[in-house]
Amino acid sequence: MTGAVDETPRVRTLLLEADGWPGHRAGQHLDVRLTAEDGYQAERSYSIASAPGEPLAITIERLEDGEVSPYLVDEARDGDTFEVRGPIGGYFVWEDDGRPVFLVGGGSGVVPLMSMIRSSSESTPIRLLYSSRTLEDVIYRQELDARAGDRVEVFHTLTREQPPGWAGYARRIDAEMLREVAWPSAEQPHVFVCGSTRFVDVAADGLVALGYEPLSIRTERFGATGG
């Protein structure tokens, strides 16, 4: 570990340097293995946040009762070492071919999507629909604000609390929201959906109801995290 960035009160990005790392593709993850002094091991997957070619970064959301994430968010320090395995994945991976991309993320589910946004070419249209609990919980908020424009459109929904005058969505993701934000399925966008299991199930079902071919929707479920 070579550095850290606080993203929100519950989320931190760790910069890693891995010997022999072969490079990654946008959307891939790695596995972190922690070994306690008594030999007990715990292994968890974390998506790669950085664009291919940039220094390796992962972004972790703390689950209060979790085994691994509180350590990575609160305790790990520069110079700490742990084992990583990767890069992993060939399904939840994006190749930029210029076609429009529709990204749907819940909480820390935005992490692999951010790698895609960071690596996209100047002509690829991207829409991100991103669900967070509160404005304070929005990961990469400043960077998303800075990148948002004609080519990269960012639609936020805040499910728990909204600041005064909030102009974005203010509810959990649903079919109506997807219909308003998504490109018509006839334009054949690439679609990536990532977040908690519950979030991904709802979003994927909503897209199928809109006429998206189920096999064209690429999904990745984080379990309890990412809602």
């Binding site: 993850h29 292994e43 395995r85 992993i88 060939g90 939840f92 908690s196 519950r198 990745e220 379990g223």
Partner: protein, 89 residues
């Protein structure tokens, strides 16, 4: 709440890479019970200790069980009719 424990085949990509030596989330499997073909990334995965259970997303039949120990791995693949791996390029 119970459904929070359900993951998908992306979650076993690292373990499968280690066991099979190739990227497996894009491999196509056929379920022995219902005959449906799907890619591994789209399967249902439960990683509760001590082992991992992988189910068909269509008929929920158990396809694979994996139990890892410090010096060995036990693998039950009896729920698959077949798995088609891509040759590494």
């Amino acid at each position: 709440m119970a459904d929070d424990r359900r993951l998908d085949g992306n979650a076993i990509g690292g373990m499968m890479l280690e066991l099979f030596g190739v990227e497996m989330t894009t491999a196509t499997e056929v379920c022995r019970t219902c005959g449906t073909a799907d890619v591994v990334a789209r399967l249902e995965v439960y990683m509760d200790a001590p082992g991992t259970v992988v189910r068909c997303a269509h008929c929920k039949a158990v396809l694979m069980r994996i139990v890892r120990g410090p010096d060995r791995t036990w693998l039950d693949l009896s729920g698959f009719r077949s798995i088609e791996l891509r040759s590494p390029d």
